[in-house]
């Protein structure tokens, strides 16, 4: 394996990680039957808070925690409005994005132009010294490992635990779940908060690792890509990981294509990640049964016990 290829893979991992976090959180939210379109806003909230705390405290760990909490706090607003007050999930999510962009810019006013050292890579003794594999697998920062761990945990949680079953039941039919004595609203609150925490982590990754700094609107639409990846994944964590890496991979490879001097207008090259995503989705969506089995049936619908 040559050096260029290996470095490219490392770049792809960096590009995919924030997407994995944000999308994974949203996957759980949607599995509980809630559609939160405010991912972009929560990511920015997470990004600015984690950067601010990491900068002022000097501790990256505290920064990560702050990003996670900021995402949760924004998700809490969403949860209160949609779950307790029954507001429209789509509109509330979009409003959350507007709010998140604004509040992050407000908080970040004094942080523009400040540099931060970034998260150190965790060199795992012995393993990271292995040729090739060592660098590819064992010399990342803690958030990269965390993303893989999180995917595995969410997959295990959804498919192997009773709590996961409850969550899916709530997403598939909140009335049936309610009849079974499940506290639908509480489950959805928890799922939404988890989604916020993940989006916050994705934001923390942006401002602490990907490009360690704060600048307004630095997520540049990644929250929307995350939302699209959830649909792409057919609500399966494993496939979500695949989708994020596919998207990240094509995004990076088209840049390489340009650097190699491929004679195609750059705008058309930049379309590739989006077109590829659609194409792959066409290939996997043709099996109608699979989608129907996995899509949470009551997604986006408000639930009230007396309805």
């Amino acid at each position: 394996m040559n050096e260029t290829l290996m470095l490219t893979v490392l770049t792809i991992i960096t590009a995919a990680t924030p997407l994995v976090y944000a999308a994974l959180g949203e996957l759980v939210v949607e599995r509980a039957g809630v559609l939160n379109l405010g991912v972009e806003g929560m990511m920015l909230g997470g990004a600015v808070c984690s950067f601010a705390v990491a900068h002022y405290s000097g501790s990256a760990t505290l920064g990560i925690v702050a990003g996670l909490l900021a995402g949760m706090l924004l998700a809490l607003i969403f949860a209160f409005l949609t779950l307790s007050l029954q507001s429209s999930q789509v509109a509330t999510g979009l409003a959350l994005t507007i709010f998140g962009i604004g509040i992050s810019a407000l908080i970040g006013q004094s942080l523009v132009g400040i540099a931060f050292a970034g998260l150190p890579a965790l060199h795992i003794p012995w393993l990271s010294d292995l040729p090739i594999v060592g660098r590819l697998l064992f010399s990342h920062d803690v958030l990269v490992y965390g993303s893989f761990l999180m995917v595995a945990l969410v997959a295990w949680f959804l498919n192997r635990t009773r709590a996961g079953l409850v969550l899916r039941a709530v997403g598939d039919s909140h009335h049936a779940a309610h009849a079974l004595g499940i506290r639908v609203v509480r489950v959805r609150y928890l799922a939404t908060l988890f989604g916020g925490a993940c989006a916050g982590l994705g934001g923390a990754y942006l401002s602490l690792v990907y490009t360690p700094m704060w600048s307004e609107n630095m997520s540049a639409g990644r929250g929307w890509i995350a939302l699209a990846l959830v649909v792409f994944s057919v609500w399966q964590p494993g496939r979500l990981l695949l989708g994020a890496y596919l998207f990240g991979g094509i995004s990076i490879l088209q840049l390489h294509g340009q650097a190699l001097g491929i004679n195609v207008p750059s705008q058309l090259m930049s379309m590739l990640p989006y077109l590829t995503t659609i194409l792959v989705l066409v290939l996997i969506s043709r099996d109608r049964g699979r989608i129907r089995r996995n899509a949470p049936a009551s997604i986006g619908q408000a639930f009230h016990p007396t309805t």
Binding site: M218, L255, S266
Partner: protein, 360 residues
């Protein structure tokens, strides 16, 4: 002000009224408005214009009142915002993005007494001036440095959009680089965004992965320099001094410096000497400036850079001085001639030494 008071009188409480009345007692300050295409917190293009705006406040104190509207989309909204500034007593309005050109002209027609300054455009009228900076002069300086310091002879260039302004920069850089190092080549990657830190960082990585050992950029964020720092290659800052983000890697930076221009034009508008004109300032006028070289720049490179810089200031050196060859090696500007501003303004070809085709 009195109309304003009348309108507000019924609606608002006494507290607000007295506050407004108090501010109305002072002599009316000269009002200067700015519209920005991005947020002031972008640490790039808009940020630098806002630094220029603040310079007005420092210079004139109470005598000048400045206003800005940020993140104004280039589209239907621009005209309304400019008109709002013009109709709310602003005497001088700076519109700081190319896409504001036609809206500026439309509004200027209806407000002959208000002075307008449009950045980077080419259409002027009696009350609309244009201004821009010859950033390509700065590119010639850093191109010289890059040519001397590259070991792999591959220099990476991150472009935003393939527009003449950016292409001009690429060519000026390449010509200067090849003068000191005829074997060096420039690889260009377009990210199709002025500002997307993540994508800019990815582009920097792609270029470094393909052998570039120096990175330069025509996008707004410090992200590419951060990558350069991390990967141990060199780079150049854009718009402002970005050495805080890359203390080792930033060899120097091309700083957009609007302060002096804004102060001059405001003073001219205040004392009545303002006239419509086109300003395309460069290193000489201070619009393009450089911070301290990093400690890693060897003395001979420093000297060569200063020679280019001083040559440009003194008028003995032009970044586009013949012979200029296109990619096919044909001479498009004979020896001894200097490229005219019209050709520079609409540049849409690559010179020899740039790899790949210019997307059309």
């Amino acid at each position: 002000m009195s109309v304003y008071l009348k309108r507000m009188g019924v609606v608002l409480g006494a507290a607000v009224l007295s506050a407004v009345a108090l501010s109305a007692q002072a002599a009316d300050p000269f009002k200067v408005g700015f519209i920005y295409v991005g947020p002031v917190g972008d640490h790039g293009w808009t940020y630098r214009h806002d630094v220029g705006r603040k310079a007005l406040e420092t210079e004139f104190g109470e005598g000048v009142e400045t206003t800005f509207v940020e993140s104004v989309p280039e589209g239907a909204d621009a005209e309304r915002v400019i008109r709002k500034l013009a109709s709310s007593g602003h005497n001088l309005i700076f519109t700081t993005s190319f896409g504001f050109m036609n809206p500026t002209l439309k509004v200027a027609k209806d407000f002959p007494d208000v002075k307008f300054e449009h950045a980077t455009g080419y259409k002027r009228t009696d009350n609309v001036s244009t201004y821009g900076a010859r950033f390509y002069e700065g590119r010639a300086v850093i191109g010289t440095m890059a040519g001397m310091m590259t070991k792999s002879n591959i220099v990476g260039y991150i472009g935003s959009f393939p527009i003449p302004e950016v292409v001009r920069g690429i060519n000026a850089f390449t010509i200067a680089m090849r003068k000191v190092n005829p074997d060096a080549e420039v690889k260009v990657v377009w990210v199709n965004s002025w500002y997307d830190p993540g994508k800019e960082a990815d582009a920097a990585k792609a270029l470094i992965d393909q052998g570039a050992d120096i990175i330069t950029q025509h996008t707004d964020s410090p992200a590419p320099l951060q990558v350069a720092e991390e990967r141990g290659v060199y780079g150049f800052g854009q718009a402002s001094d970005m050495s805080a983000f890359a203390p080792k890697s930033q060899l120097t930076s091309i700083i957009d410096n609007w302060d002096a221009y804004y102060v001059d034009r405001t003073r001219a508008a205040m004392d009545g000497s303002w006239a419509s004109m086109d300003t395309w300032g460069g290193i000489k006028s201070g619009m393009v400036s450089f911070p301290e070289y990093s400690a890693d720049v060897p003395d001979d490179v420093k000297e060569a850079a200063e020679v280019v810089r001083d040559g440009i200031i003194g008028g003995t050196l032009h970044p586009f001085q013949g012979p200029v060859l296109n990619q096919a090696g044909e001479e498009i500007l004979p020896a001894g001639e200097v490229m005219d501003d019209g050709t520079l303004l609409g540049m849409n070809f690559y010179v020899q030494g740039v790899q790949g085709d210019l997307p059309k």
